[in-house]
């Protein structure tokens, strides 16, 4: 998020696109709903009539995978009516003319044809949004998990720059991150192309800095993203995987393919807290501690670093992950000598500019710090890009609309989209070990009232969902919230895994799979 959570009630208008906020980010949803009740205007654009739509001034139901068209359409109207922030564009942005030329053809009528959003509704949305003094934009995986994920993200940024909503309280581009420390994992260099704080591995200066800091020589080449590595493993090119606290055998697209890939590995180490679907394929399993069993920090979706204190002892011989890494490193000839997580944090801040001003003491004496926080006196940065963009001028991109990789056809006539439900988390490794949460929600496929009628089924009937890649049988949840011709499967459940069905087509840049759109058929089972 470019902006902070506490400031999200300060918008005049908020747009939610591609986020089932109350299911996936319930506490942020609470604050947005509250703000909407207190007068903030809320616009919701989503194929599902999500709960947030009940609090919205305008809700628009879009065909899955049409975000670029919708956002371009909004920008078309905003420019046409002169609602853009001319001063902001002139002073802080480059690429405006190209964007303007691109969105020219996205008339409401044209966008209606693509997205199914009535021209009149789009006009209402554009007016409400374009005229707002301050508007914030929220998205989640509904924007990113597409073959056009990067295009979608850039389009959201285009819109926010166009309206001058960047660098101010109540505005911003605000991706809602899905896991407790997904932001931190990225910040810490858990990515193939960067060290901590997004310092490029291919940058010689950076490499040199790290070689000096760590006292060793480092690889100068970009590594592989996970999705590509699995394909390579499938082809026999990758030999070993070391998996820490992840469960790709649930979370990866096209699980048949992934399983084959994992089975071809020479060696698989899994470090986890439970015997996950992935651990079952491992050669060695290392038992780790979990959240309340250790001290450490998480960085949340608003870039805020917060401290966790240890509450209970881990079971049996389970160890903190860092301790396992140290033992293994030392087995492999290193002399690591951390005695606690605080020492690691201190080392990390020395090579991580955006964390440089942080310490456990500072984190403990308040409610965390937003990065960038470059010095011990710096108060942290709740809102990014105030006054100027970090990189100087913000770049607008002209982005044409592209259809998703797989579209419904005669054989597979229904859009399949996947995501989360409130009661479970990600691959459900943790939540399915809670009997209460399991009692509250189990596997299902959400289908529209119309499609249920066509199939002649009611609630809880068994339904077979089939795509070109696989097939699952699960319970129907018939609801008015799903439009005709669309089905929704939560991906938490091993017995009806959504990712048996999903398409592993990737975004060409980010290599993110298109979980949000593929084609399926529904049958009474």
């Amino acid at each position: 998020m470019t902006n902070d959570i506490a400031g999200l009630t300060k918008s005049d208008v908020a747009l939610i696109i591609g986020s089932d906020t109350s299911e996936a980010h319930p506490v942020i949803a609470a604050r947005l709903k509250r703000a909407a009740k207190n007068g903030m205007k809320l616009i919701v654009i989503d194929p599902k009539r999500i709960k947030m739509a009940d609090y919205a001034t305008i809700y628009a139901c879009q065909r899955p995978g049409t975000d670029v068209a919708v956002l371009n359409g909004m920008m078309h109207l905003i420019i046409k009516n002169g609602w853009e922030d001319k001063e902001f564009i002139a002073e802080r942005v480059e690429g405006y003319e190209a964007l303007k030329a691109e969105v020219e053809k996205y008339t409401p009528e044209y966008v209606e044809k693509i997205s199914g959003i009535p021209a009149k509704t789009l006009e209402e949305i554009a007016e409400l949004y374009g005229k707002a003094p301050t508007a914030a934009l929220y998205y989640a995986m509904g924007i990113t998990q597409h073959t056009t994920g990067v295009d979608n993200v850039k389009s959201t940024a285009n819109l926010q720059m166009l309206c001058g909503n960047m660098g101010k309280v109540g505005g911003g581009v605000n991706p809602l991150r899905g896991q407790s420390n997904v932001q931190g994992a990225c910040d810490m260099g858990g990515l193939p192309v960067v060290y901590t704080a997004y310092q490029q591995v291919t940058n010689a200066e950076v490499k040199e800095k790290y070689e000096k800091f760590w006292g060793c020589s480092l690889n100068a080449n970009n590594g592989l993203p996970m999705t590509v590595a699995i394909d390579k493993a499938y082809e026999g090119e990758m030999k070993a995987f070391y998996v820490m606290g992840e469960n790709p055998m649930m979370s990866d697209p096209d699980l048949h393919h992934a399983e084959e890939a994992f089975k071809k590995l020479e060696f698989l180490v899994v470090e986890d807290i439970f015997m996950t679907e992935t651990a079952k394929l491992a050669h060695v399993i290392l038992p780790a501690s979990t959240w309340p069993e250790k001290q450490g920090t998480f960085t949340n979706t608003e870039r805020k670093v917060q401290l966790l204190e240890k509450a209970v002892e881990p079971p049996g011989e389970a160890k903190d992950d860092w301790e396992i890494h140290q033992l293994l490193a030392n087995k492999m000839g290193q002399q690591w000598a951390y005695t606690c997580s605080q020492e690691i944090f201190e080392e990390m801040t020395k090579c991580t500019p955006s964390y440089a001003g942080m310490s456990y003491e500072r984190l403990r004496n308040g409610y965390g710090l937003h990065w960038p926080c470059p010095t011990p006196e710096h108060p942290g940065t709740p809102v990014l890009h105030v006054g100027r963009f970090t990189k100087g001028k913000g770049t607008m991109f002209a982005i044409p609309f592209k259809e998703p990789a797989e579209m419904p056809d005669a054989e597979y006539p229904i859009y399949l989209t996947t995501g989360r439900i409130l009661q479970h988390f990600h691959t459900a490794t943790m939540t399915r070990k809670s009997p209460g949460l399991c009692n509250l929600a189990g596997p299902s496929v959400m289908v529209s009232v119309e499609d249920a009628e066509t199939m002649g089924i009611g609630n809880s009937a068994k339904v077979r969902v089939t795509t070109r890649r696989g097939s699952i049988v699960t319970n129907a949840f018939v609801t008015k919230r799903i439009p005709k011709g669309t089905a929704y499967v939560p991906f938490h459940f091993a017995e009806a895994p959504a990712n048996m069905l999903t398409n592993n087509a990737l975004d060409p840049v980010a290599k993110i799979p298109e979980y949000k759109v593929c084609a399926c058929k529904l049958e009474k089972a």
Binding site: A30, Y242, V312, K433
Partner: protein, 352 residues
């Protein structure tokens, strides 16, 4: 400005209520409906005080202080009224403190203790048991409910789930879920905000029954392990049993203001689940696993990784970091992959 309370002067800020000033200076006034989060309700009337120059009793939760105001929270008239109001609440409900999960953290209990009420003195006819255990995580005991309205305000104004409201009227007034449904049959998402804000034992967590009581647990600050919002929480630990008894949202956190979702509040059972991995395991040739010592397991991993590194090259090894472990552990993991293995093949499921 200065305000006199019970004969002593206290510093106060403009706009503060008498109750807020008293609280800030550690002075206790019985009060059951006011909560900083949901604001002034003026319902319980237990916080009445006398203010010089104002006629009759004033509710301290609603009267804003003026410079030089002279307040008595313990005048005979104020105490008599406070006592009777609390007595009415004790008498009209069934507050079985001995087995109540809220024992020791009950604001009604605090008020009764402060006012020296040993037992209720008014007779209300025998109350029928009136509870609702239909919800997965939350127990409702209407006989302990004092209709203070905090839960209703929290559900409508804080978490904005709009499930709770008041139904019926007069002495029959009670909290209702949707159109009078059982809690478990309603649209309640069991975020537990109502439980956290309930001053008495009317809304309690089912799971805490019989476990260590409030004063027996150690409170540890932490951050929720689920989605990326980063709600801060207070984990209540039974040290003797090395067990989490309860998780509360941190009321002062700017991130979540005390709120949690059903997972964050109730989904901690996995921690001491019997399926937890408790020792390293090595796969047998037949595909089954055997327990191993750390030494053996790590030796095997070190050997295997070294072999592959040597045989196939460092870039044939992939490391998956985790969006669910700490920054420190992600740091050591990528450091391990980069410095020990010598590859940038590191990723995690940020995209998945």
């Amino acid at each position: 400005m200065l305000v006199t309370i019970n004969g002593k002067q206290y510093e106060a800020e403009a706009g503060q209520t008498i109750l807020q000033v008293a609280k800030k200076h550690g002075l206790y006034i019985p009060s059951l409906c006011y909560h900083q989060k949901v604001g002034v309700a003026g319902k319980c009337r237990a916080c009445v005080v006398e203010v010089e120059g104002m006629r009759g009793l004033q509710t301290s939760c609603s009267v804003v202080v003026r410079d030089g105001m002279n307040v008595s929270t313990r005048s005979e008239k104020a105490l008599q009224a406070q006592k009777l109001v609390v007595d009415l609440l004790l008498s009209s409900g069934k507050h079985d403190c001995l087995s109540c999960a809220q024992n020791g953290k009950c604001e009604l209990q605090d008020a009764a203790y402060y006012l020296g009420i040993e037992r209720p003195t008014l007779v209300f006819s025998d109350l029928e048991p009136h509870g609702d255990e239909s919800s997965e995580f939350i127990k409702v005991d209407h006989n302990k409910c004092i209709s203070c309205g905090r839960c209703v305000a929290a559900c409508q104004k804080t978490v904005t789930n709009d499930v709770l409201d008041f139904g019926y009227r007069g002495a029959n007034t009670e909290i209702v879920f949707d159109d009078g449904k059982l809690m478990g049959k309603s649209t309640c998402v069991q975020c537990g905000e109502c439980v956290q804000i309930c001053p008495v034992g009317a809304l309690t967590e089912k799971k805490v029954a019989g476990q260590a009581r409030y004063w027996e647990t150690e409170k540890v600050k932490s951050v929720c392990p689920y989605c990326g919002v980063g709600c801060t929480m207070e984990i209540h630990v039974d040290r003797k049993l090395n067990k989490i008894v309860r998780v509360n949202g941190d009321e002062n956190s700017p991130v979540n203001e005390g709120m949690l979702c059903v997972k964050g509040r109730f989904g901690y059972d996995f921690v001491d689940h019997s399926d937890r991995l408790t020792s390293p395991m090595i796969r047998n040739d037949d595909g089954s696993f055997r327990k191993a010592s750390w030494d053996e397991a790590l030796d095997l991993v070190a050997t295997k990784l070294n072999d592959i590194k040597v045989k196939h090259g460092t870039d044939k090894i992939m490391g998956l970091a985790s969006a669910k472990v700490t920054n420190e552990e992600n740091y050591t993991f990528q450091k391990f992959m980069r410095t020990v293995i010598g590859t940038n093949n590191i990723d995690h499921c940020a995209r998945l």
